[in-house]
Amino acid sequence: MSTPPLIEAHNLAVRYPNGELALHNVSFTINSPSFMAIIGPNGSGKSTLVKAALGLIKPAQGSIKVLGYDSVKQVSKIRKLVRYVPQRDRIELAVPMKVKDIVLMGRLLKKLPPRFASSRDTEIAKEALRQVNMESLWNHPFPELSGGQRQRVLVARALAGEGSILVLDEPLAGTDVESQDLIVDALGRYHRENDVSIIMITHDLNPIHTMVQDVLLLKNTVIGIGEPCSIMEPELIKKVYGPTAKIVEHSGHRYCLTRDSGFDRHD
């Protein structure tokens, strides 16, 4: 194999300081490039897996690599490659940021102080906002946007950045239909037109399952991995989401119906 895998986990376990074992026995490989989705119910360790991959949490056991770089020993290499958008509730709204400030973060974070925005940075940031139909709110206060609009701006932050891997934690959580469509289209287009991988955590595979290549189904360990349709197995989904979960087929695609929707919240 010429290019190393996008993500590769070996017997990974992650424990939080309070003793909670969020992930255990996680082993899998996803080839690069990919548009991958990480799915699973609330508290299944999706965010934890991504944070371990980015070196934000150290594994209690095992290892995880991103494009061949170890998340502990070579974390600075990984951070050059990655553009990360955490869960929306991790963004502090008490700071009077404008929409442009948030999007420019995507570019300025990779620079050195004093991190001035060049006219090219501004141009790219505006283009990214255009992708999610938010360019007219360039000067608008970010905390005053609706949930869906904020999510769109955060996705634009990732689109505006540089680095071959986009990592988005629940970009569809708490969005209205319009925002959801805009985000999904923008990400799909970006993946087609650029040589990048996208790792997207989501509650709900349905809006993106026609464009994702790999799906990782988690419930504190790997329950399933494969193409969207192989993950959309009634037995598998019931095992993870409970007996009320259903798979439906509609115009050639499988859709998953679960009671579990909405927004993960935890600190």
Binding site: G55, L56, R79
Partner: protein, 316 residues
């Protein structure tokens, strides 16, 4: 007007007071703003009182002959920085609750230590400790002003250089780290440099005024102003005006300038809340008049369409 200028020219203590007022306003703008963004405004009070405990310890070490060269201001700086680091450590994960506890504990510890040591230091030096609590901007000497100026300038330069980093740490700690920014270093840099400035400002104008000037204007501006730079400038203006009015008033009537400045600073926050409420009410009125029935009809139709789609899915 001429009179005022003449008074200022002929009285060095007034010049020092005016200079100190500007410097404290700089500290409020640089430090207070970012502490409020970081959800750490109460740290200002923890640090200011730690300075008091540190001074008490410094005087004790000096007077008891244990460490004769130990200047009390060293104790103030040391304690303040320790409290800042302790708070910063508790809050590294961004959990405000833990930081609050850290500040509370430091506060209690420094004050208790100060009161404890007061019994073991010569009575003539006790007022020096109380000076850290109430302070008097009109009694500063040259050295006080020079020290205050050096930290204010240092703080100002660092804030100018790293204001984006300080903002990013406050807005999105995880995201900043994941993009390769050394967020922890900036987190501590901000807290430590703020602590140094707060400690020296406390020596100059007293803990109570420092707290009022650092927190209230920043909180007030953050309610109303919608850009980071705007908040910083507004804080500077509010703090400076409050202090200048305080100084001026103290010449007309017999009153402590710090007391007036503190009261005005606190009032600025209450005023900001009122203005915000009025603004929101106006905003709501506008929205009410502009939402036409046509909009509602469309919304209603859309919601029916979504309902239908959902039912459709369930049938499968």
């Amino acid at each position: 007007m001429i009179d005022i200028i003449q008074i200022i020219i002929t009285s060095p203590f007034l010049q020092r007071a005016l200079l100190a007022a500007v410097l404290v306003a700089v500290i409020a703008a640089a430090s207070g703003t970012f502490l409020v963004f970081r959800g750490l405004s109460f740290m200002a009070s923890g640090v200011a009182h730690a300075a008091l405990g540190g001074t008490a310890l410094g005087i004790f070490l000096q007077e008891s002959g244990l460490v004769p060269w130990f200047d009390p201001v060293l104790g103030a700086l040391l304690f303040s920085v320790l409290v800042a680091i302790f708070t910063g450590y508790a809050g590294e994960s961004g959990i405000t609750q833990k930081m609050e506890v850290a500040v509370g504990v430091s506060f209690a510890l420094s004050m208790s230590l100060a009161v404890f040591l007061m019994y073991y230091i010569p009575p003539y030096r006790v007022p020096q400790i109380w000076g850290y609590l109430v302070g008097d901007i009109l009694l500063l000497n040259d050295l006080d002003v020079i020290m205050l100026a050096s930290t204010a300038v240092l703080l100002g330069v660092i804030t100018l250089m790293f204001n984006k980093e300080f903002v990013y740490v406050s807005v999105d700690m995880e995201g900043s780290v994941a993009h390769g920014m050394n967020a922890r270093a900036y987190h501590y840099l901000m807290l430590i440099i703020s602590a140094l400035a707060i400690a020296l400002a406390t020596k100059a104008v007293g803990a109570i005024l420092v707290y009022a000037i650092l927190v209230a204007p920043a909180a007030a501006s953050n309610e109303l102003v919608k850009s980071v730079r705007g908040v910083i400038i507004t804080v500077f203006m509010i703090a400076l005006i409050a202090e200048l009015i305080g100084l001026t008033t103290s010449f007309v009537v017999y009153v402590s300038p710090s007391a007036i400045a503190g009261i005005l600073a606190a009032l600025s926050y209450i005023l900001a809340l009122q203005v915000k409420r009025i603004r929101e009410r106006v905003h709501m009125d506008v929205e009410e008049t502009t939402s036409t029935p046509a909009d509602l009809v469309e919304t209603f139709n859309q919601s029916i369409a979504i309902e239908e789609k959902r039912d459709h899915n369930h049938e499968h």
